[in-house]
Amino acid sequence: MNSFEYAMPKRTADVFRALESSDSIIKAGGIDVLDLIKEGIAHPQRLVNINSIDELKYIEGNQTTGVKIGPGTTLAELASSEVLSGSYRALAQAAGSTATPQIRNSATLGGSLCQRPRCWYFRNKDYHCTRKGGFTCFAVNGENENHAIFENDFGCVMVHPSTTAVALIALGAKLTIASAKSSREILVEDFFVTPRENMHRENILEQGEIITAIHLPPAAKNMVSYYYKQKAKQSFDWPIAEVAVSMQLDGKKCQNPRVALGAAAPVPMRSKEAESALNNQEVTIDIAASVGKEAMKKATPLSQNKYKVHIFQAVIKRTVCWASDIDPFA
């Protein structure tokens, strides 16, 4: 670990100043950043701790007005938020199923969106992979059981680790991204960058920019949502497959569904196939199963992860059922 400067701004405006030098990085909950530094992947000259900025920690609004969330809000706070218990519950479920209680008490929503990949080759200092500037994706011909089953033909087959992003995409959420000079709004699904677009970054944040707010749009009439993940061990783990669904449910009839998949591609992705299979349908177990099948039609699993295709079908089926209050095992 290198020695580095440590900045602890008290206000958002001060963050931008602290971020001016190009080798500074942000620490919020510190969960991922500490790993990255210890693992020799990040070598910051300055660490900017934004965890003490109170104006980044809030959950405001309601289902009618929409909800605005500060990026410094912890996953534990999201998991137990009253505001997120109704139509937006996928976000609370996603936050609540991330990692362990200890980590959820520190990890923030902003940090969850900006995590770096968990690919074991990326995290291992002995592998200089494409994402770290090398010329080989070791996972393609290596151990790839946890890797992408979509978008995996462009030099890096990692899956994006953000669980909250999956729920936010299903809920149609937007981000406010700001720098010292400007600010912009962007859909969460457009925030992430595929290897095809750029191999060396996971999102569009430029140096000096931070996420300053996350917006959930007003809940449409009869909107329901659900998030579920399948993992190798049940106490806490990274997902084998994770799915978030939102839709308007008139009786059992589904409209305007949004289906997002995590641990499927190098970015948290929407499944348009799943959405069109679900749209305007009366939801039943069979329909839910066919949504799972449709979503996986274009999957291109790697040598060791065909199992994930199978699991995604099950997880999508179950999530669609649970969102519609149907017992998938009945």
Binding site: D126, E145, K233, Q234, H310
Partner: protein, 740 residues
Amino acid sequence: MNKKWVGTNVPRKEGIEKVTGKSKYIDDLTFPDMIYGITVRSDVPRGTIRKIHFADNINWDEFTIVTIEDIPGENVVTLIESDQPFLADKEIRHQQEPILLLAHPDKSLLEEARRSIRIEVDELPAIFNIEESLNKKQIIYSDDNIIKEYLITKGNTDDVWDSAYKIVSEEYHTGAQEQLYIENNGMIAIANDEEVTVWGSMQCPYYIHKALMPLFDLPAEKIRIIQTATGGGFGGKEEYPSIIAGHAALLARKAQKPVKLMYDRAEDMVATTKRHPSHTRQKIAVDENGKLLAIDIDFVLDGGAYTTLSAVVLSRGAIHAAGPYACENIRIRARAVATNTPPQGAFRGFGAPQSIFAFERHLDLVAKQLNMCPVEFRKQNFLQQGSLNATGQKIEEEVRLDKVLDLALEKSQYFAKKKQFAVHNSQKNVKTYKGVGLASFYHGAGFTGSGEVYLASIVGARLTADGKVKVLAASTEIGQGTNTIFSQIAADALGIDYDMVEIETPDTSKVPNSGPTVASRTCMIVGKLVESAVCGIRDTLLKSNLLTSEYTSQQFITASKKYLEDFGELKIFVKYKPPAGIHWDEKNYRGSAYSAYAWAVYVAEVSVDKYTYEMQVDDFVAVQEVGEVVHPILAQGQIEGGVAQGIGYALYEDVVWRNGQMANNQMTNYIIPTSLDAPDIRVFFSEPFQPGGVRKGIGELPMDGTAPAVISAVENATGKHVCHVPLRPEDLMMLYRKET
């Protein structure tokens, strides 16, 4: 002897220090002027070193660099066979082979320096698994790749096959397993030409002591090894710490400064020993009533690149391979083979979990083919008092394994559940298949065969200045409760308060060699010696007329102080004596392999998701006969921990090998069950078979039977015969796919 302390749940001797964070683990310690070390390793699995290149970007003058030239004595890790060097000379046999050592006052500079060294190697073709080694794809060890081979024969199996009612054959595989103690390995050394002192995390101070004498060419009294608080071992800190201690001391000797050498988790997982992977071929003949007529087992372990402890791991595995069952005709061929992976080593169970998994799984298969209940099938073949086991050892104690079985069946509601699950599994609208499975097994405590005789362990006791008693033993507290049980045993032997017994730090300058802390031997073997040693103290006080036969703790203190006043000090040492009637024929592998066995029956209940194939252990009943239980809570904890580790072995812990080394050497990718993933583990100790306070080891026992019980339950749930662990959901999916 009145027992006031043994059998009670006294507070742990070092418990307060641990829970208040006062215990000092190796990485908590610093010394003035201490610098930090790092190991430069091979990155090819096999080859010959041609040249070592140091890149220009580093100021090498600032670093202490140790090469083989800096080794004052023999470059060999003294253990069973002296085949492993501390630093590779010319030959590289595995990817984590240490080649040279670096140290620097600034820890942060080490990693870049390590990367700036390039080892130029003439690479040779390597072999990575049992098949390649047995097929002699390359010869890398001796002239046939065999590290060690045993043959156990009883009766004549060849006479049986032709006339048997049924013969069932199958092959079984078990994977490697990482010990994953909570504290990584680490050592601090101070050394010069005359003497060497090492502090660190370890199980066996005298193993390190023995290895460092030839390395530094120094006599015993010039090498001092001190155990610091140790966060778990499970066998993983049995032999590898000798290498780390040697490395730290070589650096310290060259730098003339204290050197700390700590492994981080990734290095600890990739470079140090693991449980041996195994392949076992089983062939069993039975009559129409299910009596075992012949057992033929071919048991092979992957030993990795050097001998380490493979010969003895193999021995224990072979002796346990036919389980606690009576059979007239047994043939067990056991081989440990060499591969170009880092050497495998000791891990809780020591070969027995591998061979017992294969045998218990195979018994289920035989029962199925006989259309018999697996419980009845086992029960009628159990060893009884007077039976001869596989090595021909006559079981002297009154074995009631059927009673242990009955208790396990009752507590687990085995038969009721089996019925209930059959109904459940036939329903369409349920999420899971459910199943219940069982394993019966025994585990020999202490060193195998003549091992304890060769060890000739010594334990001492002495009076302290304030009239208390201090136990002198090299047996280490590594979380399992050594200090507590020794104090209970000593206090009862002397009839004094638990608090009046102290335990000396395992420091080779202060304690005698009571043998390694392994093989479930600490309570049974060393505990007995502790008893004798403190009795020696009492007898001396009696003989000196300072005590009468009846005394209080206070009177003991008064007498002790008086003795010290008169004579200066009182120290008693006792040496291990083998119990009568124990004979072992090392050449033919016949006789009494162990002086006592612990007996057990474990029952697991699982549910299997019908679609995702996810497996969950819902309930676990562990019943065992271990003789006298010294500390019920610690004993229960040992069993619970072993069962959890066994569940990991069965369902989660998958060491992914790539080019001869562990590819998933991170806890993100190598997953172990947490307390939240573990079921309710219900532990029961059956009434001791023998009266009179016989104690048997329990440390390894729970590791033996858990995986076969869990997989048996999965088989009961799914109907699939599973022949390997770990069994991941995707493996189970493949078993389903294979059939359709």
